[in-house]
Symmetry: C3
Subunit: 384 residues, 3 copies
């Protein structure tokens, strides 16, 4: 049941030219918050590639490979000016698509700058998030998930570095069983007769987690969206015996686990709380965009003195990072409760094969009519 070394490599490696890396490059990925792109360029690593993002003086956003084509100095130290990004060393000026606008020092009749093109990728902004596409043309549409485009509520976001391979984080999404244990509270001890289901859908996997609490049964439905998202919705009040730890009723969360490289991941979280009677009723976590992309220290987890256990916000990171930089799946022992994880790996392999056969993997959208607003409804409710 455990994977072979080769299978583990296929599923976890993210670099250009690797099977998994090529599949991941067919999707748009969040790379920064719009607010981070002000007067200075910022450096980001994604899918093993070192890049620089900037917003030019006409508010266009650009994503270039990090090092200047001239003599390799990092463009993160460049100046945003004169319609582009100017390398600090000798003044070469790039526009958002990698065209050379100026090459100071070259003769005025030189055609050098027309003949050279700096590697650049596509960016799009939606809901205050900057999304990048590193794959072949034509790029698919940037999916307009409801929580990204709804106008009838508020959004709150954060982004943090986690120090392990992204697949450990993705597997956590389809592993409903861990809610009862990793996020345990005095309440979860009383949950009984847990039932899990995982089923393939057009966008990924639909998971359900049913448990008996007292005389009643409750079901949580969460959605895994290819290639690295999950979408959950909370409906039980905080003090309800079937409620998850540290959740409140009335908001949804969409999460992305974006590979920085093989052993590092950016975790983007977006919360959406709808207006009810013209007001936000849900207690959603605080927006942290102002702090940009936060780092974390592997092996250091905030402690909650009250519960005598790692704080809720660091529990997943602890479980995932301590599996190792790239979890060696050749030595695991999966059980019945790991059905979701097994299905996810099957889906990943199918998507990798689709790309190798020149087809679109699951979840790619190219028809604008299907992309006006994508409503995918997770949730939790009492079974009647």
């Amino acid at each position: 049941m455990a994977l072979s070394s080769e299978e583990n490599e296929t599923l976890t490696r993210v670099g250009r030219g690797t099977p998994g890396g090529e599949m991941l490059r067919r999707y748009w990925h969040p790379i920064a918050f719009s607010d981070e792109l002000r007067s200075k360029p910022i450096r980001r690593r994604i899918l093993g590639e070192d890049l620089v993002l900037f917003r030019d003086d006409q508010k266009r956003v650009g994503l270039l490979t990090l090092r200047c084509s001239h003599r390799g100095t990092s463009l993160e130290f460049g100046h945003v000016e004169d319609g582009g990004l100017r390398c600090c060393y000798h003044g070469w000026l790039y526009d958002v698509e990698g065209r050379l606008l100026e090459m100071p020092g070259e003769p005025s009749d030189s055609t050098f700058k027309e003949r050279l093109r700096h590697p650049a990728y596509k960016l799009q902004e939606l809901a205050g998030i900057v999304f990048a596409y590193l794959g072949p043309n034509p790029a698919p549409l940037l999916p307009r998930y409801d929580v990204l485009v709804r106008e009838d509520g508020v959004r709150s976001m954060s982004a943090r570095i986690v120090h392990c391979n992204f697949l450990q984080m993705v597997e956590n999404s389809v592993d409903q069983h861990h809610f009862k244990w990793l996020h345990r509270t005095p309440k979860t001890r009383h949950w009984k007769d847990e039932q899990l289901t995982s089923d393939l859908t057009d966008f990924g996997i639909r998971d359900t987690f049913t448990r008996r609490v007292g005389d009643e049964s409750y079901r949580t439905i969460s959605l895994f969206l290819m290639p690295n998202m999950n979408k959950v919705g909370y409906h039980l009040p905080e003090d309800h015996p079937a409620a998850f730890a540290a959740t409140h009723e009335g908001y949804e969360a969409l999460r992305w686990r974006v590979p920085v490289d093989d052993v590092t991941t950016m975790h983007f979280t977006l919360y959406f709380a709808p207006l009810i009677d013209g007001k936000v009723q849900a207690k959603i976590p605080k927006d942290q965009r102002e702090q940009g992309l936060l780092d974390s220290i592997p092996g250091k987890y905030r402690w909650d003195d009250e519960t005598g256990w790692i704080a809720r916000g660091d529990q997943d990171r602890c479980a995932q990072e301590s599996q190792g930089p790239i979890f060696d799946r050749t030595s695991e022992h999966l059980g019945v409760s790991d059905e979701g994880v097994i299905l996810l790996r099957r889906l990943y392999k199918a998507c990798i094969e689709a790309v190798q056969n020149g087809e679109d993997p699951v979840g790619i959208i190219r028809d604008p009519a299907l992309n006006e607003i994508i409503r995918l409804v997770p949730g939790e409710h009492r079974l009647s």
Copy 2:
């Protein structure tokens, strides 16, 4: 006289399957203090293996490989409860011998947990120290050295990480000549006519260091105990012209250099001071068990402004760490004064060969009659 690269590898590598590592696995090694094992498990690396220790709710101690057999999360973050150690991620519960007591989420009629056994090693406690055995069965007896079992005195202990291969530390034990130089004081300059002897014994090596001080001669006898211990006893008053630096009369020290991995070592020290007239007379160093296993920073050594030289407690570490992570013995030049080091390496090779031939190496005890109390008497005295 210098070693070949192959010889150096053989003597220094500690991992499972290496010649030296297999020999070292025939002995019990200190791994923690009993007081460290309270309500939470602790993580330790020994002989290149990542392990977790815990004391269950019935006070039994257990030593398991670090990562959960299920999906690899570190058991150092597990909960001690319900008769075992429970993985934080999905609640698998292990007893001290690696048996699965619970596998939440698996069907009640599943035989999965009976078919699986998590790798576990033996532990024993003596004198407040937890000893581990990582070798094949049957395990030998845990040697009951006098300073571990005597009731007529007090014990003081400490443990510290040193950042170099263990053999550099072990060689230091049989290298009597360094006392005069590395631990020099204004007194040692006046020592003359140093004579060294090193002889094989049933337990390891007996070293003597004789020097003339004024008109008299003094001899220090110290014992190297296979595979990584030394035992010394101090009898000269602190202000005696033949006394070693920072020692006081009346106590013994037993020291272990336990490989964490090829380039890191745990240094355990136990001092024993006997009661004389119902009172401890010796000034033994302060017990530091409460601080657990201390770390150190290679290249940083405490400075003693009074002597204008590295402080006594860091002199050995300075000399040993600065030989390199694994000292390259192909470029050394041994002299007559290195007789102890040469004999030690010969003993090590003989013990490695014994293990390869299926025999016990030097110092293994299997007869309880020989293990009631092992009296090995080091010391220092004036020659008549």
Copy 3:
């Protein structure tokens, strides 16, 4: 135009036995300040070799390989005494040329210490700088550049570690074009019609940088001296529209970029300001010898809030370090303005070939008559 991988290796590797490393070993290199050698030895790495320097109790200076020939303990922890440097571990005593003066513990009739010789290199002191020679005998003369020997002025010095290959720093010296961009000020924007020349000379390369400022033209002449020096002189007042950033009239600077290893470089800077009317008129930077060899943190550059850009003193380091630990020159795109860089690489290749043919490379001086004082005059002036 870009280099092949092999060419890049040839030009950048500095270790013993590499083509570039052997060429660099034909020259004297600064390794420390005289004032650093007081009562304690100091450790330095140069051209990939770990060494220890000391000044013995008769004021002679010595440069030895770092680890004691006996058992490998670092001699940086040795004691300067008794006519040499004594290893802290067992007291072996070395003189400045690597001869064994004492081997405590060896029999008095032993010839061991006469048969053994510890590897040692030559040192010379000039102008408060200690220079090392790591090449074959006979060593060339230590060049007596005017700013090292002139008595009619004051010298100010500093030394700092930079975290990249030395060649990136050397190339910066012959790359006049970067003054306008990397060190840009409000003034440099108005410079027009830049003209660059680079020409081979007996000592290396002579570069000129001419620009039009308003109605007048100004020319800066700077000198690259094999293998890793540059010499510049400032003559324009600080507030002159053609003046470089953070320079003042009236002093010269001589700079060395000495390889520590392939990815680390010591940057030595010497400023010389002549006495005019018996007084120092120039505002030369503060002497920092008292702080010894300073380190720096790659990726961290001091910020100048006033200009909204990296501070002048860290601009070159930013551009050079961000090219990567060893800049991959296979992906660069050189232009007309890189003539100096291209010429420098050609000169380096010629010097490497000269050494391979048993000849002296450019700039080696063996005739004392040519070495009384080497006047090489850089500068900046208005073109008439």
